[in-house]
Amino acid sequence: MSTSKVVSMHGAVADLVRNGDTVAIEGFTHLIGFSAGHEIIRQRKRDLVLARMTPDVIYDQMIAGGVARKLIFSWLGNPGVGGLNAIRRRIEPASLAPGQTPLEIEEYSHFGMVSRYTAGAAGLPFMPLRSYFETDLPKANPLIRPIRSPFSDEVIYAVPPLNPDVAIIHAQRADASGNTQVWGLLGCQKEAAFAADRVIIVVEELVDEAVVRADPNRTIIPGLIVDAVVVEPYGAHPSYVQGAYDRDNRFYLDWDPISRDESAVQQWLKDWVYDLPDRAAYVAKLGAERIATLQPGSAPSGSVDYGEYR
């Protein structure tokens, strides 16, 4: 039995997220690590480079909380609702507060971002892809570069590896060593974790190693690359966890008017982040009634027989 990596969220963020780090909290609509993002705000980390395909409401909150100097992304919106207004205020010159520095941005397409993580995870100097032709993206971001195939005259584009200092991945379950299982949308969490120097796993449920070993195909991240395991049920709210709770769409809709008003954003951060000690307090403040509206019905998978071979 290996040593337990289970720690509190406070401990994980205090130990593993350092000012100036490149931090990737991944999860495409599904399994977004809101509780980790809130802890980073609460600990007032500074000068982070935040990487994420879809910054989503969590990075709107983190950037409003003043933790970041730069954003690396591929789609900047509140999915299904509209814009990310706190981030927009840091990008559009007319919206900047007097004396405020604009947020530095580095922009790709989705395929470019997943390719960057894949290059990082595979230890490669770049990843080629058939995209970006005849667009303005390579002009906007000089790290998107054309390359000639060594085997033909074909010219395609390449993106550099993205190796975050820290990746934070929310998942349905893991064991105490950090062997992590996910079902539903997989996004680019596996790639981001393998690309990162340090990995924090946040789970809905801590399970025995035997549960993982009974279904090894479902393991996306081995404990080998995991530094900390944090157990925080409902840690992905207001995003969702397949099979456990639905996206709290009301929250995403409510965020739109809040995010348009800087003082409302700061009040929200005070009420829901700074004045609360942890995610358990957030869930209690949210209330059982609200949580109950998010419970899905049941649709269990079939099971397979891996066979016994002695």
């Binding site: 879809t54 299904g80 559009e92 395929f111 997943v114 058939r130 949308l185 996004g187 680019c188």
Partner: protein, 265 residues
Amino acid sequence: MSDTAPAPAPAFSRSEMMIVAAARELAGQRVCFVGVGLPNIAVNLAKRTVAPELELVYEAGVFGAQPARLPLSIGDPTIVTGATAVVSMFELFAFYLQRGLIDVGFLGAAQIDRFGNLNSTVIGPYDAPKTRLPGSGGACEIAINAKNVFVIMRQSARSFVNEIDFRTSPGNLGGAQEAEAIRRAGGWNGRGPSVVVTDLGIWHFDETGEMRLDSLHPGATLDEVRATIAWEPKISPHLQATPAPTSEELRLVREELDPGGVYTK
């Protein structure tokens, strides 16, 4: 509340007409990359009417989705439950899209030009934008690698412009000849945009690669079409009248696909 008698309700809204027109364009197609909102409803309507064999692909990593409710985001859990396959996003973009398995990709944008080039990145200069928009997401590679691109957009002079501020997704570039040569040389899977469905009509692309109005929706006028486009649009000499939505198409949209009227009001 006004005390005057309400006007008689129209038989269908312009959004409903857009959805129905887009769905009909999908007849005979097999594998479709779906977006949220109007495209999602159009594709699900096509699957129930003109294209029952349609496979729904979502960029979040789903092939063969069977959404049981209207997905409210591009990664809604309803696209997972009951799907044929759930894959990583790298696999989705590399193996399904880049390998050339996608017949139709749906795109929208803030700006479009006469050749179907699209901007969803910024209004104004990139380094000091007047309005920062979401950016590419998957749009750039969908425009390049989906065999056909369908665009759904509401017409307005701010959106149908002479020059887009940023080219996020290539259409027919500066014209069909140039675009075809570049696509061939670059090994693109895509043939570029094939249709633009708006709230006023249906546009295809003529031999020069420029948008041409082929069908006018019921209730829309050519004056309205011209007033909502920055350039002098080409109108087909054989301009058709788009058939109004059938009662069955409207029933599917209103009762099954968007019962809350989120996208169709």
